[in-house]
């Protein structure tokens, strides 16, 4: 590493070295049985050098420094315009907890037993079901250093659990997926909660009913809300899109963009959430910030380069993997809860649908906030009750339109895969076709 560092300090005005290594272990069950146990080890190094406003980036998992220096030398002939300054170290008073030494130590036997317990609960009620499920544990360490004397070493632990259940009846295939992640080991209670949620939806899904007509109220579960509306919405908040005028939100700070019942923020400071961080991947301290406050656009999420281009402050949102340059990345996205009880929202609907999962969302014109997808898990609400599952129905709309006027926002919120927290939301401003 010293050889690379010496080369970089001679070649560039400023430089940065990011190196990371990780060990991961995973257990996979397929069709109810243990199928594969795997272990992965990976490492890599990425550098960025800046001379005046010219930036060079290169990465490698090869340990030969001479070969790497040759590549950097070649790339430096073709820099990218990026007038950024690598930050110095700023001490943070309160450190967010990202690591537990116990997480990666949990033995395979324990993980296998947990998966079996969850599987058996489902099979007891649905003997024909096929469960694909798994556990994934990761322990990683990254080191970021730069020519402004910054040196940050981050150790993180991760555990992820997922379960996907399939029930086939004639030519109907019902598929339900859920999971959770944390820096701590996923405990029995969390697995029980996921398993019971899946059982609830499997029971509700046994009966297939006709979908309602277009124009009806649609209730999104937190997971349905993320897949259909929040994901395309966040594309417009990406600082890189804002800086390049590819977002509807360019120069719209403090304008009302959606219903005033809605506030959304990014919070990297939640202990043991896998998306949390103390510093972003460029060494900028990360902290909570508002994206939308009472329906008004407050800020996009920025890294150094996009904030410079957009003439804003960075929000400490740089995320990277070894092989790619840092880019604006969200951490824990939270939508503030509403005032209505979920039960009361459902009860208030004469004819509508509840959407939990979509197929093919995010494969259209996301820059405008448009979405369109097949409803892979949705239920009809009739006279205030969930009466059965709907099939062969599509949902489409625009994230900004769907949120421009909402009917209800629930008091209850749910954590989606351990990093995103949203309430249930009801709107009429989406299109249903079947």
């Amino acid at each position: 590493m010293k050889k690379i560092k010496d080369y970089l300090s001679g070649k560039f005005d400023q430089y940065e070295i990011y190196s990371a290594q990780s060990n991961s272990r995973s257990i996979s069950f397929e069709s109810n049985e243990l199928k594969e146990i795997s272990s992965k080890q990976s490492q890599g190094t990425a550098i960025r050098g800046v001379k005046k406003s010219d930036l060079t980036f290169a990465s490698t998992s090869n340990t030969n420094p001479d070969k790497f220096i040759n590549v950097v030398e070649e790339l430096s002939e073709y820099p990218i315009f990026a007038p950024i300054n690598f930050p110095g170290y700023s001490k943070k008073e309160k450190q967010v907890k990202l690591y537990s030494k116990d997480t990666y130590k949990f033995p395979n036997d324990y993980l296998i037993d947990q998966i079996k317990l969850s599987r058996d609960k489902i099979l007891k009620l649905f003997p024909e079901a096929l469960c694909d499920s798994g556990f994934n544990l990761i322990e990683s360490e990254s080191k970021l250093e730069n020519s402004s004397d910054l040196e940050i070493i981050t150790k993180q632990s991760y555990s992820g659990f997922y379960i996907s259940v399939q029930v086939i009846n004639n030519k109907d295939m019902l598929n339900i997926y859920d999971g959770y992640s944390s820096s701590l080991i996923i405990n029995k209670d969390q697995i029980t909660m996921i398993t019971e949620k899946i059982i609830k939806y499997l029971k509700l899904g046994e009966k297939i009913v006709e979908p309602p007509k277009n124009g009806c109220p649609v209730v999104f579960t937190p997971s349905g809300l993320l897949q259909s509306i929040i994901s395309p919405l966040l594309v417009s908040f990406n600082g890189s899109n804002i800086a390049k005028n590819l977002s509807k939100l360019s120069n719209k700070e403090n304008n009302k963009i959606i219903d005033e019942k809605i506030s959304i923020y990014d919070n990297p400071s939640i202990d043991y959430s896998p998306a949390s961080k103390n510093y972003d991947d460029e060494g900028v301290p990360s902290d909570k910030f508002d994206l939308v406050k009472d329906g008004k656009f407050i800020s996009g999420y920025y890294d150094l380069k996009s904030s410079k281009e957009a003439k804003k402050q960075t929000t400490g949102s740089a995320g990277r993997s070894i092989n790619s340059q840092p880019m604006p990345t969200t951490s824990n996205i939270i939508m503030a809860k509403g005032k209505d009880k979920l039960d009361n929202i459902i009860k208030s609907i004469d004819d509508g649908i509840l959407i939990d999962s979509l197929l093919g969302a995010g494969q259209g014109n996301e820059l405008s906030g448009d979405f369109s997808a097949n409803i892979s898990l949705g239920y009809r609400i009739k006279n205030g009750k969930l009466i059965g599952r709907i099939k062969n129905t599509m949902l489409s709309g625009n994230a900004f339109d769907a949120l421009s006027k909402i009917n209800h926002l629930s008091l209850e919120t749910e954590n989606i895969f351990g990093t995103i927290n949203l309430p249930y939301l009801c709107t009429n401003n989406v299109e249903i076709s079947s």
Partner: protein, 456 residues
């Protein structure tokens, strides 16, 4: 490969334990250049080396991947130990071996011989053709080339070295009326031929025009509609609507699905013929041996509307007592091979597209793609271009649409297959976290007489 590494590999395979063992070592070099908005966003060269050991015991697998290939022996021991945790019943794989073989990469115009400067000049020129035009607020250009050398050895006696060169390019133009953001683009790719990236001025200019035309285009209301798919989108359709369900790892341990997907079941009309095969040469999904050392094949999946075959790995073929088709593929050394498509095509029939169009009173002409997804029998895919069809003629531009269907109905709803097969190599496939795997898809124009479509 250095001699000492070869010795490490052969020593690793000699370690006791496991019913079947394999080691895959890979070296790769890639270049990536992207433009976003009005400027160059990224240019990077990445080099990597690594490997993996995989062991079969007690009906399941142990897998261990690594960067430091001098660790191979330890990682093999680890994979053996992990595989011992399985508690199922093992099956016997076929024991064929190709022995020692080395296959060089297909190289027509090797991107390695093109200087970075020349690559940048070409892309810079396309960028200039897009930016600063009326209602255009930027471009999205993504170029990548990748050279992979993979050495596969196993306890059956295989020692197979294969190299691949991939080139891929996606170009799109972004347009806006000040409020909405729209885009039009295209993707191309090749196995070992950089020249596909050259001489695209006409296509890029068309792309700008199409993006501009989208501004005044209307959105359709969601409905069932007759749709004519161009060759590119029909290729994505066959991949999503049928290809994924023909992958035997979805079926081999699923008794109910086995009944539904029994060979001989009718899925389409008489002129529907679907084939997948890595043995179809010179395409991005082409290879001689898969990542389990099985020779590639060309597999008929549907003949005259009937299901006649499916795609297999060693394990799925043995378990279903069908022939291994050599479709076990891994995206890199970090992943175990799983059953994947290669080059998937709907075969030509004998209709003329002009006749199919003339016969369509009311419908949509959908072209080019954004993406597609499958969840068992349900699938969606999205067009990048959509036009209204009225009384047999293509009329005004509409906003792109998403199409959605169901395996059991939609294939039967194909009522017109033309004779103008084209193959698109600009796509990648994702499954089990392994993405984008090089594949190609192809089809002639097809008409589906009833398909659920909605705007977006």
């Amino acid at each position: 490969m250095q001699k000492d590494i070869k010795n490490i590999i052969s020593d690793s395979l000699k370690i006791n334990g496991g019913e079947y063992k394999e080691i895959r070592i890979e070296e790769n070099n890639s270049t990536r250049i992207t433009y976003k908005g009005n400027s160059r966003e990224n240019i990077s060269i990445n080099s990597g080396i690594g490997g993996c050991a995989r062991v079969y015991s007690n009906g399941g697998w142990g897998f261990s991947s690594f960067n430091d290939i001098y660790e191979s022996k330890n990682k093999m021991s680890e994979a053996i130990n992990l595989s011992k945790l399985n508690t199922g019943k093992s099956i016997n794989f076929e024991k064929n071996s190709a022995g020692k073989i080395s296959i060089p990469a297909r190289s027509i115009k090797n991107p390695k011989n093109i200087s970075l400067n020349e690559k940048i000049n070409i892309l810079e020129h396309y960028k200039d053709l897009i930016v600063n035009k009326k209602n255009i607020n930027g471009c999205d250009i993504s170029y990548g080339d990748l050279e992979r050398r993979v050495i596969f050895t196993d306890t059956l006696g295989n020692e197979i070295e294969q190299s691949f060169i991939h080139v891929i390019l996606r170009i799109s133009a972004n347009s806006t009326d000040g409020n909405e953001m729209l885009q039009s683009g295209f993707s191309i790719g090749s196995l070992g031929d950089f020249s596909i990236v050259e001489n695209l001025d006409k296509e890029v200019k068309e792309c700008v025009m199409k993006a501009q035309n989208l501004i005044n285009a209307e959105k359709i209301e969601g409905k069932e509609s007759t749709v004519i798919l161009d060759q590119i989108l029909a290729g994505v359709f066959v991949h999503e609507a049928f290809g994924h369900l023909s992958e035997a790892d979805n079926v081999y341990e699923n008794e109910r699905l086995k009944k539904i997907l029994k060979l001989g079941t009718k899925f389409g009309n008489k002129d529907l013929n679907i084939t997948d095969g890595a043995k179809i040469p010179n395409l991005r999904g082409s290879y001689d041996f898969d990542d389990e050392g099985t020779p590639s094949t060309k597999t008929p999946l549907i003949r005259d509307g009937e299901l006649v075959g499916r795609l297999h790995s060693k394990e799925t073929a043995s378990k279903m007592n069908e022939k291994n088709t050599g479709n076990a593929r891994a995206i890199s050394y970090s992943y175990p091979p799983i059953v994947r498509m290669t080059n998937t095509i709907i075969e030509n029939s004998n209709n003329n597209i002009r006749d199919i169009l003339k016969d369509t009173k009311d419908g949509l002409y959908v072209k080019n793609w954004y993406g597609g997804m499958t969840q068992h029998e349900m699938f969606t895919f999205s067009s990048a271009e959509t036009y209204k069809i009225e009384n047999g003629e293509i009329k005004e531009t509409l906003r792109p649409v998403k199409l959605s269907g169901n395996l059991f109905n939609t294939l039967k709803n194909i009522d017109g297959i033309a004779n103008d097969l084209l193959i698109n190599q600009g796509g990648g496939c994702g499954k089990g976290g392994q993405m984008p795997l090089p594949v190609s898809n192809g089809s002639p124009h097809i008409r589906i007489n009833s398909c659920l479509v909605s705007s977006g």
